[in-house]
Symmetry: C2
Subunit: 226 residues, 2 copies
DNA sequence: TTATTATTCAACAAATCAATTGAATAATAA
DNA sequence: TTATTATTCAATTGATTTGTTGAATAATAA
């Protein structure tokens, strides 16, 4: 026999758990992280997360039933996006909690980066100023759509696959800073690797757009009429 | 065949999912919410959450393996506590996200409170001032240990079960504000119900200590030597 | 119309999880 | 020492979840 207040509490925590269940699967978290960068189609999400289409679709529906994402059909494609910027903040707070509490994360990161480019700390405070003054070239190596949805002011959009083509246009003696989706995205790692091989003085900025936004720094974006 | 960067990403999101899995069960969320108020023994957690001891113990071990809580043996009892105040902040951000995204929560709350005491909004800004000036009596109706761990300045500790005994000591003509663990805790609901039945002018403050802290308001606590 | 492409649905096997029960362990009291 | 109490462990059941297949649906193109 349940008292009314027990039934009330059970109902309340069951609602909270809807959010928890939605973020309890590694693949759904990866999808959510991708959607924090910009809206995307099922196909591109499936490709980026290394999932089959059917599986991606199912995970997205779980996220949608927890109201974390919305979807909209646009011609042949269905586009998914976060239902609220608050979802991105929540994901970030989960990431930060994991970084603080789970020492394994730091080890996983170190093991992957070992032998690859080092992690010279980039001075974020002065970065924007140095970009403005032309002392630094800042490259956003994410796909173009993510750059359009929001990027660090002064950054050039150079998706990783096009980096090779524009190498000749980069100032040979200037410091180059590359960034991507955040500390666990490998795009900027590969970009810096390639740039160094070509003789450039390149470093990686660990933070992504969401981190800059969370730090209260300005973000440029090209809002679409919708 | 997995590429190294796919293996890296899988490992990273698997770590994030450890947090997600820990907060994907309603009962674990209830335990976490209780631990946000103060440290507690397994027994008291089991009692408050309406669980068997064995079941409580297992849930607590899941929370511990995600490093969200720590435990310590103190004589006959094992005490559990949050491993970091950041865990409380994370739980709160999850709660706020659920409140904003899941309309069901508001409905559940309304259904429970319907017929019970209304929800006159309490002016939080001026509450502390009015308490100091003696215009309002503020009652903390949670168990004493939770009051000791942190309470709103000026509040009196009157655990619900002792409210009846001290009714005679309350100023009969003054407004009485009761609070407990937060919007989904029923202790203050019952307190206000009883006070009104006895003729007092009583209202419920929805916010709990964690909400006050998150709003940057001061919290009094009696730190134990440890 | 038919063909094509993107997405979703349905059904399944393997894995994981929640809650229950009863036994095992650890600290204290008699 | 034995008894008591609080907690954890182990084994079980039923329910849920993941990822895989292949079929079904929806929008567009030919």
């Amino acid at each position: 026999m349940k008292t009314p207040s027990r039934a009330f509490k059970d109902a309340v925590y069951e609602q909270f758990a809807r959010i928890g269940k939605a973020v309890s699967s590694p693949k759904r978290l990866e999808l959510l992280d991708l959607l924090c960068q910009s809206e995307k189609t099922v196909e591109s999400l499936a490709h980026e997360a290394g999932l089959t289409l059917a599986n991606t679709s199912q995970h997205l529906q779980v996220l949608r039933s927890a109201r974390l994402v919305d979807s909209e059909r646009e011609g042949l494609y269905v586009t998914y996006r976060l239902s609220d910027p608050m979802v991105c903040e929540f994901f970030r707070s989960m990431r930060v909690l994991a970084e603080n509490r789970l020492a394994e994360l730091e080890m996983i990161k170190r093991r992957f980066l070992n032998g690859r480019e080092g992690m010279e700390p980039v001075d974020r405070e002065s970065l924007l100023q140095r970009v403005i003054e032309g002392h630094v070239t800042l490259l956003d190596v994410r796909p173009e759509g993510e750059y359009r949805a929001g990027h660090i002011p002064g950054a050039l959009s150079v998706p990783l696959r096009r980096l090779k083509e524009i190498l000749a246009d980069l100032p040979p003696e200037q410091e180059i800073v590359a960034y991507c989706r955040g500390p666990y995205c490998v795009l900027s790692v590969f970009a810096v690797e390639m740039l160094r091989k070509e003789g450039f003085n390149a470093v990686r900025l660990e933070e992504g757009v969401q981190d800059f936004r969370a730090m209260g720094l300005p973000i440029d974006s090209e809002k679409e009429a919708r």
